[in-house]
Symmetry: C2
Subunit: 113 residues, 2 copies
């Protein structure tokens, strides 16, 4: 069993210029004994955004703080604290912080990609 507050877990800066103002924490991963999927937390500064891309594995997202937009091939959908988002394998996606405070969300991925 691993029990910890996210603030105790290392914060990693995403440095790729295709993103803006994004940091990440890996809350639960195979290193902790997770057999099937990995829980990450992302923080996005006001005006920041994640990659605009697609890949062959899914994301399961839950917004824990803030407001933003989920961008897909079909347009933009406003989200805020309390929204869940399933991004299926192959779907183009990006998350932008359009609010006045930090946008924070969980994003889970399978271990086998």
């Amino acid at each position: 069993m691993k029990i910890d507050h996210y603030k105790n877990i290392e914060l990693e800066k995403i440095t790729d210029p295709k993103t803006k103002g994004v940091t990440k924490r890996v809350l639960i991963s195979p290193k902790d004994g997770a057999p099937n999927f990995t829980m990450r937390m992302f923080h996005v500064e006001t005006g920041g955004y994640t990659f605009h891309h697609s890949h062959d594995f899914e994301h399961e997202v839950f917004i824990t703080e803030g407001k933003g937009l989920v961008i897909s091939e079909n347009g933009s959908t406003p989200v805020e604290k309390g929204f869940s988002v399933l991004i299926e394998p192959g779907e183009i996606h990006q998350i932008k912080n359009t609010g006045e405070t930090e946008l924070t969300f969980l994003c889970l991925i399978p271990n086998q990609k």
Copy 2:
């Protein structure tokens, strides 16, 4: 892609008397196209608790509201909003609401159990 606020998703009462004051929402599941794992949200009333049990699949938990205890073979650990918990396959576990407000957490499980 599925995007929705949790309050729009059906609330199911857990009626088993081995639990107390627990309701559940299935936020993301294979019915939505999730290939590998399922995201559920649990609400536990003040004084309520989930099953005290173990099983052969993992839980990945994130506390979104409230305060409580995670009970394992090794004792009780206080948790509150912002804590993540990995319960590995086979580990005995229970979550109790010891706070004055509702305890809410995400609990993800693999689709193949």
